[in-house]
């Protein structure tokens, strides 16, 4: 192992503190008695969580977020896998061009994407709500699945597929019995990654949901009227769900010998 110099070590520590302090404060304030979310924290309490759970908007937003996140997880797994299979059957050159196109929404500024989607829905007179948010999220969550599965297929042993064919299996049977079980850990991981990204999206949701709310847009709405620590409680919950989903994603996608 390489030794760290005192300079680089202190710079790393400083960066870590700079990045993590706001997160830590949000979490700490959510458990403190002080109603203004300022120092000192005051006695530890679950009061702000009780207040949050008593708020009917919270439950409505949680329900929407759950519907959107789970739908996006499942749908991006399906469309992302289909796209990745398509690309992995193409030659390298055209496949790379296709990948650039399909993953472009991740690179685009969210505001631009949100505006484009809102304009498109308005143009076709689509009533905005959860059903417009789901495909909007799919646009930028699906690329994660496409990239993960495409790179998995690059090292896939195609002799397995040929063997299964040779033994008489149909394409569907090959997919269900051979390909899917082998890529399942990667697919589940990619899908959780997609859900983590979907769960904490604000901009695109805000532009496409119309009158409804999700957890992030609820935070925004609450911030405008008050700044009491139940927002911190909500923020903490979103943090736990997003980080949890990401941890599952990274654990399951890790290559298993």
């Amino acid at each position: 192992m390489r030794r760290w110099s005192a300079g680089s070590l202190s710079f790393a520590l400083f960066s870590l503190v700079f990045l993590l302090t706001p997160l830590v404060l949000v979490v700490l304030f959510s458990f403190g008695e002080n109603p203004h979310a300022t120092l000192p924290f005051g006695h530890p309490t679950l009061h702000w969580y009780e207040e949050l759970f008593a708020n009917s908007n919270f439950w409505a937003a949680l329900k929407n977020s759950a519907i959107i996140t789970l739908s996006v997880g499942v749908l991006s797994a399906i469309t992302g896998t289909a796209a990745a299979f398509g690309f992995s059957n193409m030659r390298e050159g055209p496949a790379q061009i296709g990948l650039q196109f399909i993953t472009a929404p991740v690179m685009l500024p969210p505001l631009f994407l949100a505006l484009a989607l809102a304009t498109a829905y308005a143009a076709i007179d689509a009533p905005q709500g959860v059903l417009t948010v789901i495909p909007s999220h799919l646009v930028f969550t699906q690329p994660f699945v496409v990239l993960v599965i495409y790179s998995r297929m690059a090292t896939f042993d195609y002799a397995l597929i040929e063997s299964a064919r040779d033994l008489g299996a149909s394409p569907l049977s090959i997919f269900l019995n051979v390909t899917l079980p082998i890529i399942a850990p990667n697919l589940i991981g990619a899908s959780f990654l997609a859900m983590a990204v979907s769960l904490d999206d604000f901009v695109i949701t805000f532009f496409t949901i119309g009158g409804g709310m999700t957890l992030p847009t609820l935070i925004w709405g609450m911030l405008r009227t008050s700044l009491d620590p139940s927002i911190n409680a909500l923020g903490t919950l979103v943090l736990v769900m997003t980080v949890g989903s990401s941890i599952i994603a990274f654990k399951t996608t890790r290559y298993r010998g």
Partner: protein, 351 residues
């Protein structure tokens, strides 16, 4: 269909990739019970040919017939052939038993029949003790046997093997060769075996098709190919050989400063003599005698590998068996005379 129909018949099979011709128009017939080796260096088209028999690759032109039926348009899932890949292609998430039973399950055979057939083949291949292990928990040789069992349990008309032993080390390869030979004796069946290893082809097959640059250049029994190679390529590829430039005039062959009677038309030709058919000493009446000096002698255990320099400047390789009890090394730089029985040299038709 009669027994006169070959089990597998290829008619004018052709395959090109852009400008590269992978397989020139090829005909081949394989009889029931044959163990045919497709032998050649990499890129000679042997795997292309095998994949076309299995249905993984469709020919540009030509026909594949199995049991008198044209199967050219059928995919591998519709052909009564099964293949063993070099990388085995075992399903990593299934146990040995599930791997072997996969084809039967897909074919929707009854549970009892599936279990019986699977158990039978696992027993035959000495895999019963490993039946519930995953492939990753098996050695290379065991994985190889699982791949074989998985193909054989389908009772294919033709079993295709694509360099199945190439990933094994030498000793295991020898053992598996013996096992394959016994298996072929035991269960019969028709095997088509791709290999680049001439000794493997000789050890296993009753017929060998030597391939070079997209063509089958000679297709005969291993012995016939060894004794009478049709081209320079075959002579060099199958075993060691000496190829000497010679000329025939009036039924006399002139080679490396000597001559001996050899019937045939006048003209230039190439003579092939196997190193093990050449002897050193004073010579013998009726044998061609070539004066030479010993350039190099290497002890190989069973024989001395000796490189001679002929007066014509050509090299001549001799494999000299040591009579038991004698172990005198041939003297490098010494003069000697190489000779062989006229029947032991073979004329290669030059093209």
């Amino acid at each position: 269909m009669t027994d006169a129909t070959p089990l597998l018949r290829l008619r004018g099979l052709t395959k090109s990739y852009d400008a590269h011709v992978a397989l020139h128009p090829t005909d081949l017939e394989v009889e029931r019970g044959d163990f045919l080796a497709l032998l050649g260096p990499s890129g000679c088209g042997k795997t292309t040919l095998l994949r076309m028999i299995g249905g993984f690759l469709s020919p540009d032109r030509g026909r594949v017939e199995i049991d008198g039926q044209d199967v050219t348009a059928l995919g591998p899932e519709q052909r009564n052939t099964n293949i063993v890949f070099q990388s085995y292609g075992l399903f990593p998430h299934m146990t040995v038993r599930q791997n072997v039973g996969f084809g039967l399950r897909v074919a929707k055979r009854g549970r009892a029949e599936r279990d019986r057939d699977t158990a039978e083949i696992l027993e035959l291949m000495h895999l019963a003790p490993f039946a519930d292990r995953l492939p990753a928990a098996l050695s290379g040789g065991q994985q190889q046997r699982v791949a074989l069992a998985r193909a054989l349990v389908m009772k294919p008309s033709v079993l295709l093997l694509d360099e199945p032993l190439a990933a094994l080390d030498l000793q295991l390869r020898k053992a598996m060769q013996e096992e394959l030979r016994n298996l072929h004796h035991e269960i019969g069946g028709t095997f088509v075996y791709v290999t680049h290893d001439q000794s493997e082809a000789m050890a296993l097959a009753n017929r060998v098709a030597v391939m070079d640059q997209g063509r089958i250049v000679q297709e005969q029994s291993p012995e016939a190919i060894y004794r009478h190679p049709r081209t320079r390529f075959v002579a060099n590829f199958i075993g060691e050989s000496n190829l000497l430039a010679a000329e025939r005039k009036g039924d006399t062959c002139h080679v490396a400063g000597t001559s001996f009677p050899l019937q045939g038309p006048d003209g230039k030709l190439t003579l092939m003599v196997r190193p093990s058919n050449i002897r050193l000493g004073r010579g013998k009446a009726g044998c061609p005698k070539l004066p030479a000096t010993i350039a190099e002698a290497v002890f190989m255990g069973d024989y001395w590998h000796i490189r001679l320099k002929l007066q014509s400047g050509e090299d001549l390789i001799v494999h000299q068996q040591q009579p038991s009890g004698q172990s005198k090394a041939p003297q490098t730089g010494g003069s000697t005379t190489a000779f062989w029985e006229p029947a032991d040299c073979h004329v290669i038709d030059e093209t």
